[in-house]
Symmetry: D2
Subunit: 341 residues, 4 copies
């Protein structure tokens, strides 16, 4: 059975495991206070061209969104997100669990629009009763989005400008950031992101790590006593080394981008293959997730040999499904898939 | 520099790393829905002689306490714990963060007393105004305690009986459970714990794993939709395999107990060494944590060559410090230490 | 300046004040444990034809929604509501503050549709990933709605049936319940509501009281230890008499309905007056709130002599405004208004 | 049956009811935005000699403590209080419900000691692991305390100095403030309190109002968007007039102090009477609450004719009970009581 179900079906990139093994018996301090966390932080600062950045390491994506958003917002504030945003639907209400509303705005192919954000915030402050309404206290975007799409540099700049105009921090969920940066159709770099966002995270779980996400506060804007806030949310890992060593490895010798480019190369081949075979795409995705529309019968057959994700119902006789490549996808996998299609 | 600072200074037991490497490229489902999690669950059930148990894997200790306690308690309930309990002081208010009071009772050497618990609950219900007071909804104990001490089977049975009498679940924090079970001075077995507690967790982070704790609900008493509750608390690991493979390895061929016995053997040697050298013990600990009282001057010298933990001030000229052994402590470490003492 | 701004611009109905004065020096127990609360509860049970109902008194509407919803939902559940529902927008995120998502469905003129609710819940359970999504744990409707509209008995029955089919409680926000029941265009009675809803509240603040709402749990379904849950949410009034005496008065000699009918009579006159003068209605409301569309210039003039509420922008040159009558509206007020129109 | 059970057994002072009746039909804006709230605020500022103070009106004591404490604290902070403090035990966990720990310090006769607070905070910051512990973010005292006792000006000054030294706000729960200020054994005035505390509240519920507490932020230190925070906690009263009119009346012509002095005069007589009859006092209280120790048999008899509060068990054969006077206690009541004693 060949698997294109998600980008977290395998363990870690072999170099990551190697480094974990090599450093295994070194006695190190806990809670992120070890040299590998420090080295990883420094390398990430350099990759971002952001010498003032403060980097914290967390275990998973939902945890990271929850910890960051609830630590930054004041009680009376909520977070603006796309209706299709991960925090809006697929995190079990983790943001609301911490007391904050997700203010969902309509999005196109997973992307928020700067003008819509501007309009929402402007209308909010113009409303004489806004004291009775949740304040917009942050803008959340995912890049790549949940549909694999990407913001262009212009779009990202426009959103950033709106956020700064209204003094609302911009936070980017980069669970698949590597696959966005490695896309052949992007003009956005890591330093662009660090410059345009106030906070973002670099996904490890889906890009070569066993677990782990690196949160970047780009300009001395980490919340006061963030370590305690992490602890209090059950998110401070005792053996911080597990995260530090992994990110230090991923940010050594360009490994993070190298494996991301591999995933994109595999995705491009997958895309061509699907196009050649006449499959119908739900949308044009420039990254590692590809969404196609299958007839339900066709789907029932395919699912016997290939693992993919059911995304949503398209109509009564069709379903949208997702194929994902990752750092672990091989040419072999693609050949196997080709036989099944 | 020789390190006895804590029981989480090293990575994972080499066999655990090996298994992670061997299984690394197997495509597996996420979120704990993989065969290794299932195998680990089954082995833990057997180790507990508890065929009905439901086992869930979480990443760390504070997270586990937070997720379990807040998932089991109703809004109007708090959790009884020792004033020295980990949840009472050293988890940054993680229980209160979820809306619940920690009802702290005085303890002796880290241990709660069955009669004190009984008295507290009885007095609570006898108070005509108890509708204005937080209800006692759970009893939390740690075993070994934060002071390395252990409950005897009689003591644990007495606490369990009080809990059942009042219909309040008993939850055991087993962050260092292996070191408790392997102690030469215990009459408590894993099946005893499964029989006497309603919920307990088997610590991995401090006993051979990179991370991970296995929560055991002993009698079909896992909260409804616990997976969603984990997700909502940011505690559902995407690559559940990381936890499943580790616990499956630790519970294969008695590895968990074997490495725990090793830590205890090291602790016994450490204890003899300290006693021979005339060091003064703060209390008698039968497990891997040893607490001694140092003169402050003596401490200042020792700290130059040995890492240990400052515990608390004893008096103006003395300090209580902790030495911890673990699965990773070697005879070499002890020899090095002997030179420094 | 004549005031049609809202239905809470005056104090209490004079009979309510009288009874507060008459009973003022009687020594009574606190926290709702007094005879007036008991008498009020009994009269409400009779008005509902619901002898098993349990009635609790709370101070205000947002508080009532917050206390009821957060007390009934389990952690993993959210509440379905119209996008225009009071809890969705105008309560400052009070539901999310307690950890729960408001699942907003599109509504027509403030009303949810049974089929939409059914479809949402059915789709939810059909989604293989629903463990990662907030569970629908309650349906919230307001009656009258925020737009003054009413559910017909058929519509309410349909919603009730959907809720029971899915085992999800139906909760009605009756902040203006009297004005709904007294409408000339309704076929819904208080016993209908008690029969079709699982929980509802009878608004006092907007219908003759200084403050106060009466929550009715219709079939022994009040959450366990609801008093403690109220206390814990800061919502248990020390002098419960203040609520008991008011509701006891409002439910004596049909006062609640009598004053509600008066408000509706005033609203009907207002409506005729506005229609005659050629004002354009935003929608047809059968209750005490009337929404009209004003040209912005016209609005600027009118606002100099009459208080009304700005509701929302209609287009660049028009605004929707609200006129509300209440138990305190007089014929005089209407005459004054007529002069200004 | 004569009642000394609590200081909230009667309605409101007659002048308060009168003013509610007189102003009843005036159309007023909601949510505290009316002239009576403004007038009350101004009068309270004057009574406090604190022209910069910001005053907000809330409905009840637990609500006030919850709203103030949770609005002022950052996530990682808890509030220091006496173990006998109202928030520590008798508010159903309302503080923890909002995510914050109550850090309970031992107290004497209900009073915290400045040196104990200083020591706690100093020790906290000296602990190398304090990032894993809840930060002390506020000090809560009640005045009078739950035992009727009072801080002297020196004691209050000492606590205030400790708080300012550590930059931790001092918050006073003044549920019975009038009875403290009117005591014959106090040297503390309202301006002293406003000068020494950062926040305090003036209790209305127990001192002449139907409901209501006035929170005073003494130096432009009200939390940002406090109105929204109140709304979000279900604590913003729609008809704010109910609170504004009551406090405006209580702070006109010294009514608040006049009725407080009456309660104290009644308490002094009660005290003399009890002393003459040979009753044993649990402690010396200079305010309206008197605690005496009764033999259980004696208590069983007395309870047939007099309402008082059971406080706590003293020993197996004795119980501590409380008699409370208030603005509504009459000479008649005392005469009746004398007959029963």
């Amino acid at each position: 059975m060949i698997s294109f179900e998600s980008d977290y079906i395998a363990g870690a990139h072999p170099k990551v495991l190697e480094r974990l093994a090599e450093t295994n018996m070194e006695p190190l301090l806990g809670y992120g206070d070890d040299k590998y966390c420090q080295m990883a932080e420094e390398k990430i600062r350099q990759a971002c061209s952001c010498p003032d950045a403060k980097v914290h390491f967390l275990v998973g994506g939902t945890q990271t969104n929850q910890v960051v958003i609830s630590s930054v917002l004041d009680d009376y504030e909520g977070v603006i997100a796309a209706t299709s945003g991960h925090i809006s639907i697929h995190e079990g209400g983790a943001i609301e669990f911490t007391g904050h509303k997700v203010i969902a705005l309509e999005a196109t192919n997973g992307k928020l629009n700067a003008a819509d954000i501007d309009n929402y915030i402007t209308t909010f402050y113009a409303d004489g009763n806004h004291d009775h309404i949740v304040f917009p206290g942050m803008v959340y975007i995912s890049h790549p989005t949940e549909y694999g799409t990407l913001y262009s540099k212009d779009e990202l700049t426009a959103i950033s400008n709106v956020c700064r105009k209204h003094n609302v921090p911009l936070y980017m969920d980069g669970a698949r950031l590597g696959y966005g940066l490695a896309s052949r159709q992007t003009d956005v770099t890591m330093p662009d992101i660090a410059r345009l966002c106030d906070i973002f995270y670099i996904g490890g779980t889906k890009v070569g790590a066993l677990c782990g996400e690196a949160v970047v506060f780009t300009h001395n804007n980490a919340p006061k006593h963030f370590i305690t806030k992490m602890k209090q949310r059950g998110a401070l890992l005792a053996k911080g080394r597990l995260l530090g060593i992994q990110f230090n490895t991923l940010f050594t010798d360009d490994l993070y981008m190298e494996i991301s480019r591999h995933a994109i190369a595999m995705a491009e081949k997958l895309k061509s293959m699907l196009k050649e075979k006449g499959y119908r795409f739900y949308l044009e995705s420039p990254t590692n997730q590809q969404f196609i529309i299958l007839e339900n019968e066709q789907m029932s057959k395919l699912v016997q040999n290939v693992c993919f994700s059911f995304w949503e119902k398209y109509d009564d006789s069709h379903t949208i499904v997702r194929f994902a490549t990752s750092w672990s996808t091989t040419e072999e996998d693609l050949k196997e898939l080709e036989k099944c299609l």
